[in-house]
């Protein structure tokens, strides 16, 4: 039976093959390549699901799912547009003004927008609602002061998404507001934070009396918590939550095919079975998004199990590349993958937070 998306797959594969990619793990976070991103934009593979009037492709989330899984399979460098395509564009579509849609979405689709995600702060990690960055109303807009950390790609960003406190409420979940700030606005300082292997992907972003016009508020002032929670269904429910170490898995297959080993084969079979289940969950999430749902609970489960799978891929590869004599390229990918694993179950909602999200759905208090 032919898969209805075979043609689309073929197009993406041909494009990827022609690009001559050196595969990387975590290529959606560690693969910044603006030229590659713009080329994807020319093929219509950014903002695929958005209405055509905003430059989008008017296609389904399932089709977007197919494109993203083919790209991560190849370990292609997709960082430059990833955040904008995955969650900021959809947020603008859901809660943005007509002006914001018309201005920003076409640029994202062309691959010209790099968004740094300003959610976490030094005192607000898993406890996201504890943000202290404050936006104060001024004439015609807001003045934002505070600091964000772990902001991936802020040093390349054209826009910064900022979650800031605009008021106080009975609970800390009230009085939060989302902003989309032009990255060249005066008062913004970006400082690198090198990761454990010395690479520069994330940053600290200092905001000092950054003047932001009213039309840069996303959605409703004070409704930021509800909006951001919905956004997280997009952030957590994608293929990048279980395919980040796929290049290691592919390297294992090459290795075992050359040096057959029964135990290694069984372990690959185990990973293949688990990946089959995870991918189906991901597909179901894409389908739920097509239905206009924000499947927060399902997305949390996918990320929790998916990052565990990514870790197990790398741990299995240690063993498999050892007993089956993996080549230099396989070992390069293993080392590359090992550096990815510790962050995977932290970013975008730590596993502990995800357990909480799921248990709240399973055991309402």
């Amino acid at each position: 039976m032919a898969d209805p998306h075979d043609k689309l797959r073929r197009e993406v594969r041909a494009f990827v093959a022609a690009a001559g990619i050196v595969p990387r793990n975590d290529s959606w976070l560690r693969g910044y390549d603006p030229d590659f991103t713009r080329a994807l934009g020319r093929h219509g593979w950014i903002g695929m699901t958005w209405p055509t009037e905003y430059g989008g492709g008017g296609r389904s989330n399932t089709e977007r799912f197919v494109v993203t899984e083919e790209l991560l399979r190849a370990g292609a460098p997709v960082t430059a547009h990833w955040t904008a395509d995955r969650q900021i564009g959809p947020t603008i579509l859901r809660v943005g003004t007509e002006g914001q849609r018309a201005e920003i979405l076409p640029k994202i689709c062309r691959g010209e927008v790099v968004v740094g995600l300003g959610l976490s702060e030094t005192e607000a990690g898993s406890d996201l609602a504890a943000v202290r960055t404050r936006a104060t109303a001024i004439d015609g807009g807001w003045s934002i002061t505070g600091a964000k950390v772990w902001t991936t790609s802020a040093h390349h960003a054209t826009h910064l998404y900022i979650l800031a406190r605009t008021g106080e409420g009975a609970s800390k979940h009230e009085g939060l507001t989302e902003f989309l700030v032009d990255a060249d606005t005066p008062g913004i300082t970006v400082r690198p934070i090198l990761d454990l292997v010395g690479e520069h992907h994330f940053n600290e972003v200092i905001l000092d009396d950054v003047h932001v016009p009213d039309d840069r508020v996303l959605g409703t002032v004070g409704a930021g918590w509800k909006q951001v929670t919905e956004q997280l269904a997009f952030e957590r429910g994608g293929v990048e939550r279980y395919l980040s170490t796929y290049p290691v898995l592919a390297a294992m297959i090459r290795t075992v095919a050359r040096h057959p080993d029964r135990a290694a084969t069984e372990r690959l079979g185990e990973l293949a079975a688990r990946l089959t289940a995870l991918r189906q969950l991901g597909l179901q999430l894409a389908g739920a998004l097509d239905q206009g749902e924000a499947p927060v609970r399902l997305a949390a489960g996918l990320k929790l199990a998916g990052t565990r799978f990514e870790k197990d891929v790398v741990e299995t590869a240690r063993y498999v590349l050892d007993v089956c004599e993996g080549d230099a390229e396989a070992h390069r990918l293993l080392v590359d993958g090992l550096a990815v694993v510790p962050g995977a179950s932290i970013r975008g909602g730590s596993s502990e937070v995800l357990y909480t999200v799921i248990s709240r759905a399973e055991l309402p208090r």
């Binding site: 084969t265 079979g269 079975a273 089959t276």
Partner: protein
């Protein structure tokens, strides 16, 4: 997991209301409903229905811990129909015995003269579920160039088997006997030679339906656990207020979701790989769920009076039928490394045909 939204409530009504009904009486009811032959085409004497409908029945057997050979009889009938034999022999319940290549010899009897169609069977098939309590065994013999399907009278033709099997019961206290064939003779009309691929197709179907049954038992174990942790009070509050308890319950939900997802793949994209994948996932999930639901129940869960054992014992038994997860994972691994590229894996996982 809902395979067939129309059928599921009926399954719950029938199996849920008859947990204490005598097996013979329940079987009569199921036969009246046509359930043992759901999945077999009406033209072949079955009740029709797709794989999803059969999976819904199998899940019901798991959810309600129904002590009837509904899954096995259905499989036996399906195998007979696939081999072109009449399914009537399975009407009074049947077992399915799968004989991998080399374990059972099925040959035509050269001494039969005019009766040249007579067959002689030699070999052993261990752990045949429901043997010897059911009157019929459908034997599926895998050979290099064909699949031989035979209908055996479990009480007469395999007398030795029946006698030898009486003492065997599985962990769930259901019969599971060894089929010993020592020169058993069968007339030609009880044997069919089918294409070589049929043995694998039967095994795939067994794998998917076993996984569906496991998913039903998993669902019940999780439901019992949720009830228990929300009603049982310790330290002045329900267990469900304890973070460690909440985390285990959340973990169970994720395991369940993954099994259901693998089942969805296996039912919507049936094939060797997706069947092996779901069977491997099901075996692992069964173990995790049995362990964690018992842990969350505390001592009451390991008593005879509390119903958790009805499903956990089945989980422990079913997960090892037709091999533990490692057997299925090796099968899948062989498929995945077949070409040396990741194409077979990607095709399995995504369903892409390119």
């Amino acid at each position: 997991m809902i395979f067939d939204a129309d059928l599921r409530p009926v399954v719950d009504d029938v199996l849920g209301a008859n947990t204490d009904t005598a097996p013979g009486e329940l079987w009569a009811l199921l036969t009246e409903l046509g359930w043992p032959v759901v999945g077999v085409a009406e033209d072949d004497g079955g009740a029709g229905g797709d794989l999803a409908a059969v999976a819904e029945l199998a899940a019901g057997v798991g959810r309600h811990a129904a002590a009837v050979p509904l899954i096995e009889t259905g499989l036996a009938a399906w195998a007979l129909a696939a081999a072109g034999l009449p399914i009537t022999a399975t009407a009074e319940r049947a077992a399915l015995a799968l004989a991998p290549t080399g374990t059972v010899e099925a040959r035509r009897d050269p001494a039969a003269g005019d009766e040249a169609g007579d067959w002689v069977l030699d070999g052993t098939v261990p752990r045949v579920r429901w043997l010897p309590e059911v009157p019929t065994v459908v034997l599926v013999v895998e050979q290099a160039d064909a699949t031989v399907v035979a209908v055996l009278d479990a009480t007469a033709a395999a007398t030795a088997a029946a006698a030898a099997a009486t003492a065997e019961r599985d962990l769930a206290d259901e019969p599971s006997g060894t089929l010993r064939l020592d020169g058993v003779r069968l007339p030609a009309d009880r044997v069919a030679v089918a294409p070589a691929g049929l043995a694998g197709d039967v095994l795939d179907r067994v794998a998917v339906l076993r996984a569906a049954a496991i998913s039903g038992a998993v669902e019940r174990a999780c439901a019992l656990t949720k009830d228990h942790v929300t009603t049982r009070q310790q330290f002045g509050r329900p267990l469900s207020a304890l973070p460690a308890v909440r985390q285990l319950v959340a973990g169970l939900a994720v395991e369940r979701d993954l099994l259901d997802a693998a089942l969805t793949v296996a039912v919507t994209r049936p094939g060797r790989g997706t069947a092996a994948a779901v069977r491997a996932v099901a075996a692992r999930t069964a173990g995790t769920v049995a362990t964690d639901t018992h842990q969350l129940h505390g001592a009451i869960g390991i008593t005879q009076e509390y119903p958790l054992h009805l499903v956990t014992r089945r989980l422990w038994s079913w997960r090892d039928d037709e091999g533990t997860q490692r057997r299925w994972e090796r099968l899948l691994g062989d498929e995945v490394v077949r070409t040396g590229s990741d194409e077979p894996l990607w095709a399995l996982v995504t369903g892409a045909s390119v």
